[in-house]
Amino acid sequence: MPINFSTKPGIVVYLTAGDPSLEATYDIALAAIDNGADVLELGVPFSDPLADGPVIQRASERAVGRGVRLSDVLELSRKIREARPGAGIVLFSYLNPVVRTGLKEFCKAAKEHGADGVLLTDMIVEEGAAYIQHMRENGLQPVFLAAPTSPDARLKVIAENSEGFIYAISRVGITGTQDSVESDAEQLVRRLRQFTQKPIAVGFGISNAQHVAAVGQFADAAIIGSAIVSLIEKSEPGMEAEAVGEFVRGLRPKQDSSGVREGSHEPHEANPHSSTGNLKGHGFSRAEKPSQTTGASAPEVA
């Protein structure tokens, strides 16, 4: 199973596919993988990204304006899979482009194009019976969102139905960077742990090595989205992949070398200790033991 956080903490990188171009996203994706990303979330651009903050909204708008569609993102997935067989690939989409394709047809195509999992932003578990069934029939892993506002009863169902990992939203709100990772995240992960040993990845507002290290104290992986999309936006044309590669390399301390895969560079030093002071007062205790499950095998899918 390619969705596997063998290093701790795992790194999940979100990219809006087709921003600045499909070719560039391919290069950026390989750079992210080669520099330590365990899983890529390939975002399907959508006209109405209501869960996203300004950075991903702009990226989405640029890609939609360029005519990038779900079928292009599937093709991109296939190319990345061919080039990097060991990387995890999750297709990340709002529901409507998938509905237009057809749930069943989409799940079949996702499998054929090398994806491991799918996250649909506006698909909640209760509405997902048919979706989950098609995913399982194709050996794909559905990833569901868990929110700080979700009551325990919902977290249980979310954990049961998620495969690959559970996406724990660090705070209420839309995507985007912030100065600190709120303490909502740690409590949410602890509540999820009551119900599951599956990997838990924390996303929303994670933008630097300090945040990643902080998340690593209590979760299995950190998801970095807006910070990377913003970096791509600010990069000189043609320099995006290099910038993202360097950024991803800097997200994890050097000792995490167990996840080295073909073509990967030696990760650079990013000293998490320098962030200690920063973490205090944000609800994180560095003394806290990471909750087990490092490298927990991804759950079986039918």
Partner: protein, 421 residues
């Protein structure tokens, strides 16, 4: 066409207000962060519905503050001029704040107060829902933030001033086409961020369960009154009920009590804009290319104007309140099962209807409502004189004077506009 198969057969959560499904349509398609709030809202609404004190307070305010019941008025000169069926106007335009929107805004504000939420957000297209929300927030002393597309702020600027005078914080939205859809996106982003303290007063029969049901329930009063008034004034039901459909709140309110009466034709009129091509109109139910297809937008499964890649299309209408790419899910069901018919009126037809109604009856309709009047004007001559058409006149046109004066050149009036009757 691909649909969300088996959607009705899903794990049940707390669903105290119906199922949230209208045939295959409706449901809850939202980011997980909002689910707790939607469940809390659903439960609170169910409790409020079961509490006679809630209904009593709402009814009292509808009567003494809002001005219900609204008259059912026989438009004699209009009808006689057309030479066919009699046209009756359900005068929602006479309500406080000038449109039906206050029925729902008031109901939801009472619910917010009951739930202890002090901060209210809302989206608005034409500004009528924003004005109604700002009004009830002033009435109850609640903080009020209104999201409005910048294009709509420009074309409905009088309503922007009204909202600000009422104490609301009106926030312009410039993303997308800067109209209603974009305002809803921004309101939902606010709600996701402030979900613990904030009540979202959604203004149409749209969005995730329980909104389409709740909004419809608050507007049911329109057809409850109309049915009684027809019995008293005519002695029987109308033969046809006509209402404009943006999100569809006034239409569902006007249709609802007549749904079981199958001999009453129900006709929803969408914005035909300036042509049938995608982007030129907001006629979600238009057949063939350029029309809508089932999809998910802003929390609900319904007809959506979109391209073949599933990107939501731009829309156009002279009326901001109809200028929206999707439609309430209950209308999608009524369309598919044939209980209601959907048609459209163009920008020009709506503008013409505005002028005709002003000059035959001394009533200036909102451009939204003028779409319904325009269709009634087409329909009446084709029906016998014994037939009765009810038009839900959902709002008044004062807010549209800028557009109307430009479009009909009332400033430097050509001869045909100079008051000839």
């Amino acid at each position: 066409m691909p649909v969300l198969e088996d959607v009705g057969n899903v794990a049940e959560v707390t669903r105290s207000i119906g199922t949230g499904r209208f045939g295959a349509y409706g449901g809850r398609y939202v980011p997980e962060t909002l689910m707790a709030a939607l469940l809390e809202l659903e439960q609170s609404y169910a409790e409020a519905q079961a509490d006679p004190a809630f209904r009593e307070e709402l009814d009292g305010l509808l009567k003494h503050y809002v001005g219900r019941p609204t008259p059912l008025y026989y438009a004699k000169r209009l009808s006689e001029g057309l030479g066919g069926a009699s046209i009756w106007l359900k005068r929602e335009d006479l309500l406080h704040t000038g449109a039906h929107k206050i029925n729902n805004a008031l109901g939801q504000a009472l619910l917010a107060r009951r739930m202890g939420k002090q901060r209210i957000i809302a989206e608005t297209g034409a500004g009528q829902h924003g004005v109604a929300t700002a009004t009830v927030c002033a009435l109850f002393g609640l903080e009020c933030v209104i999201y409005m597309g910048e294009e709509d702020m420009r074309r409905q600027e009088l309503n922007v001033y009204r909202m600000r005078l009422l104490g609301a914080d009106v926030r312009g939205v410039h993303s997308g086409s800067a109209t209603l859809k974009d305002a809803i996106n921004e309101a939902m982003r606010d709600w996701v961020t402030n979900v613990r303290t904030t009540f979202y007063i959604l203004g149409s029969a749209l969005g995730s369960h329980p909104y389409p049901t709740m909004v419809r329930d608050f507007h049911r009063v329109i057809s409850i009154e109309a049915k009684r008034q027809f019995a008293e004034q005519v002695g029987r039901n109308p033969d046809v009920v006509v209402a404009c459909v943006g999100g569809g709140s006034n239409a569902i309110g006007a249709f609802y009590e007549f749904l079981p009466d199958e001999n009453v034709r129900l006709i929803g009129v969408e914005a035909g804009g300036r042509g049938g091509a995608l982007g030129e109109h907001a006629a979600r139910f238009q057949k063939g290319s350029g029309g809508g297809l089932p999809g998910v937008l802003q929390g609900t499964y319904s007809y959506v104007l979109q391209n073949d890649a599933g990107q939501v299309a731009a829309t156009h209408s002279v009326s901001a309140g109809l200028d929206y790419a999707s439609v309430g899910p209950e209308h999608a069901m009524l369309h598919d099962n044939g209980r209601a018919e959907y048609t459209s009126a163009s920008d020009d037809e709506a503008l013409n209807a505005t002028k005709v109604l002003a000059r035959t009856e001394g009533i200036l309709p909102a451009l939204e409502s003028a779409h319904a009047v325009a269709h009634a004007m087409k329909l009446a001559p084709t029906l016998g004189k014994e037939k009765n058409i009810m038009v839900n006149l959902s709002g008044r046109g004062d807010k549209d004077m800028g557009i109307i004066s430009r479009e009909l050149e009332l400033g430097g009036a050509p001869a045909e506009n100079r008051g000839t009757r």
